[in-house]
């Protein structure tokens, strides 16, 4: 499977990116010169760097992923844009309708990342009081109804969460590709939902990858489906291991870690545990080799987490992705 590299966007970059100028300095920037403008530049960086896509995460502290996706799709030609949201934001009919327009506008480049497990406190702050296993039941209905109105005429559905009568997108909103569905999680509920609905299931490097991929693969096969597998992956790559380590240390100190507690990158796996979750640190060659390792284990999509986003994205495009050119361009 052709490997895909996606950039995870900083939807919560804060207004601090563009500090206000002192009052006596003429500032003709419209209000638009803020965090959204910054995101647009980062999106262009991913496109120009030849990445396969970007992910706008659901972040209660950040900008809305669907609005961000709408702008970034318009500002790009090739890359996919994934918007992460939870099922409480809208009815599945409305989510489908809005997404059909995004598909029309972008030539079918939208992905959905459905966030199912939410911290109950966060969920309630979003007006969403559905909890526990119920969240999976709702996600199931949400995706079923969304696909139903997408693909069928005169669609009807009466479930526990949603009801539709005589539904179904009309031409020309109909007939586009349904957004590629990304899901995540390792619980039994998550696996069962993915077996039925995921086009791409995203794990973390902390997960027991081989076991999880085997489990989901078997479940999905029973439904005659075969999702692709993705990996969230923080990453710091430099010209050599020493430089990578130096910058990892700088990052560690910046995030108020102490010099004495700096976790050394693991030599065998190139994994570093200082990002907050495990990620890769090392020379371009070594990081590329580690990525090849994941490819061999069945992972084909990488949701890279880098910082600062713009600069690191150009770096990846110029130094890391070329080392994987053979895999990217020759895969079947």
């Amino acid at each position: 499977m052709r490997p895909e590299f996606h950039l995870t966007l900083p939807v919560e970059d804060g207004a601090s990116v563009f500090p206000a100028l002192p009052g006596f300095v003429t500032d003709v920037r419209p209000g638009a010169a803020g965090p959204y403008e910054r995101l647009a530049r980062i999106g262009r960086a991913a496109e120009l760097a030849g990445m396969g896509g970007v992910l706008a995460p659901f972040d209660p502290a950040g900008q809305d992923s669907l609005i961000v996706a709408g702008g970034l799709l318009r500002g790009s030609r090739h890359m996919r844009v994934a918007a992460e949201f939870h099922a409480g934001i809208a009815t599945p009919v409305y989510a489908a309708k809005l997404s059909a327009s995004l598909q029309r506008f972008s030539g079918d480049r939208l992905d959905w990342r459905l966030a199912v497990d939410l911290d109950p406190r966060v969920a309630r702050s979003q007006g969403d009081f559905v909890e526990g296993a119920e969240r999976y039941a709702r996600a199931e209905e949400f995706l079923t109804v969304a696909r139903g109105v997408w693909h069928e005429e005169d669609y009807g559905f009466a479930g526990r969460f949603y009801e539709v009568l005589g539904g179904g997108l009309l031409f020309p909103l109909s007939g586009r590709a349904f957004p590629r569905v990304q899901l995540s999680g390792t619980s039994a509920d998550a696996m069962a939902l993915s077996a039925r609905h995921a086009d791409l299931h995203v794990f973390g490097p902390e997960d027991d990858l081989d076991a999880a991929i085997a489990e989901l693969g078997a479940l999905a096969a029973q439904m005659g489906r075969s999702p692709a597998y993705g990996l969230r992956l923080p990453l710091l790559a430099r010209e050599d291991d020493d430089e990578a380590r130096r910058d990892a240390l700088r990052l560690w100190l910046l995030r108020s870690g102490a010099r004495e507690t700096f976790p050394e990158p693991e030599r065998a796996t190139r994994l570093w545990h200082g990002f907050g979750r495990p990620g890769l640190v090392g020379s371009y060659e070594n990081v590329a080799a580690a990525i090849r390792g994941y490819l061999d284990r069945g992972v084909s999509a990488f949701f890279l987490e880098v910082e600062p986003h713009l600069e690191e994205t150009y770096r990846l495009g110029e130094h890391l992705l070329p080392l994987l050119a053979k895999e990217i361009h020759n895969a079947g």
Partner: protein, 383 residues
């Protein structure tokens, strides 16, 4: 008193003219239409453009022609206004996106988040057209079973929650209502502190006017004959005054303006006599919308075949047959540039402080109205 002129964004695609009723050639809405644009054909293949590329042109034409922005309607057969606004935010600089949406399809917290993100993207150019739905099969298509008057109760609660979340700091907003619950809500610092969009509220029923009283910055009505519009505004004024509010008034109408009156009516006639069904989808009339019914009762109610088009000129230049020639409400103005400007001045004198004008095709007509009609306006001075 400044008057804001909005134009309309044809989210349903655009016809080449009113002469070609029901032929939506722009935006990919008519399968296999010869002469279709965005997408069009190049060497026998789709050229890769899409509706949004045309919408971008209309938005720029609108901006250049003196309009403050446009209304982006939302129906089952249209593209979505949030999607279009997100796509075009950075391709425009002064254009305000008046987004039509129905509470009930979006959660108010999500509406707050999307709006605030759009405010960041546009530098505060988002405006709301709060619609409460026309009922009937269309409402069930959307997956919404709530009855007419209850929809306005929901709209009211929706706007309360939306404002509550918008202005809350420190996750301090709690709400327990009939339609919505929120605990510890509020916009995060990255989104907070931006202007709340102006609210253009629509609905002609009692329930609508009651809800409008609490929430409307502008009460937006379709054009009706001036006497009935005057009465409607009076009703809204009275109700609002009763609760200590005074919304401004806005009118949505199409204009067909030409150098001479004769030329304008010829344009109508050419569309009128051309065979073909009315351009407005049948389901639009099947609901519980009081406002739509008013338009039908006052205008023709029928299709082009019955009676002469000129019989629908209810008062000078006020014509009630537009829905036959293009999708949308019945009433608009037909006349020469001066006449149309004079009628708009009368509406201003009647109390209108904002307009949503429209014309087909939206691109060329935006330029025309900007160049030939808006400059002739005199405002309340005509009184």
């Amino acid at each position: 008193m400044p008057v804001d002129f909005y134009w309309r964004m044809a989210m349903e695609g655009d016809q080449p003219s009113l002469r070609r009723k029901g032929i939506v050639s722009r935006g990919g809405f008519t399968p296999g239409a010869v002469g279709g644009l965005a997408p069009g054909l190049r060497n026998g293949k789709l050229d890769g453009y899409s509706h949004v590329d045309y919408l971008a042109e209309v938005a720029k034409a609108t901006e250049a022609s003196g309009f403050v922005g446009a209304l982006l309607p939302s129906f089952p057969h249209t593209d979505d206004p949030w999607a279009a606004a997100a796509a075009l935010a950075r391709e425009t600089s002064t254009y305000r996106f008046m987004i039509a949406f129905q509470p009930g399809f979006l959660h108010p917290v999500q509406a707050a988040r999307m709006t605030a993100s759009l405010q960041l993207a546009t530098g505060g150019r988002t405006v709301y057209n709060v619609i409460s739905g026309g009922g009937g099969p269309q409402q069930l298509w959307w997956g919404d079973k709530v009855e007419h008057d209850d929809r306005y109760v929901r709209t009211s609660e929706f706007l309360d929650v939306l404002r509550g979340v918008w202005y809350a700091t420190d996750h301090s907003y709690d709400h327990e209502g009939r339609f919505y619950r929120v605990r510890g809500g509020g916009l995060p610092p990255a989104l907070a502190g931006q202007p709340f969009p102006e609210v253009f509220f629509t609905g002609s029923s009692k329930a609508a006017i009651a809800a409008a009283g609490r929430h409307a910055d502008y009460y937006l009505s379709w054009l009706e004959p001036l006497s009935s519009l005057t009465a409607k505004f009076e009703q809204v004024r009275e109700h609002s005054a009763g609760i200590g509010r005074s919304p401004r008034f806005a009118v949505r109408l199409d204009v067909l303006a030409r150098e001479t009156e004769e030329e304008a009516w010829q344009e109508v006639e050419r569309g009128w006599v051309r065979p073909g069904p009315a351009a407005t989808p049948a389901y639009v009339g099947l609901g519980d919308s009081v406002g739509w019914q008013r338009g039908q009762d006052l205008g023709s109610g029928g299709n082009g075949s019955r009676g002469g088009y000129r019989a629908l000129e209810i008062s000078p230049n006020v014509w009630g047959g537009f829905h036959v020639l293009r999708a949308g409400p019945a009433f608009g103005l037909v006349g020469d540039y001066r006449q149309v400007a004079a009628r708009l001045d009368e509406l201003i004198a009647l109390g209108a402080e904002a307009f949503v004008l429209g014309g087909v095709p939206h691109l060329e007509e935006a330029y025309r109205v900007g160049a030939h009609v808006l400059p002739l306006l005199r405002g309340a001075a005509v009184r």
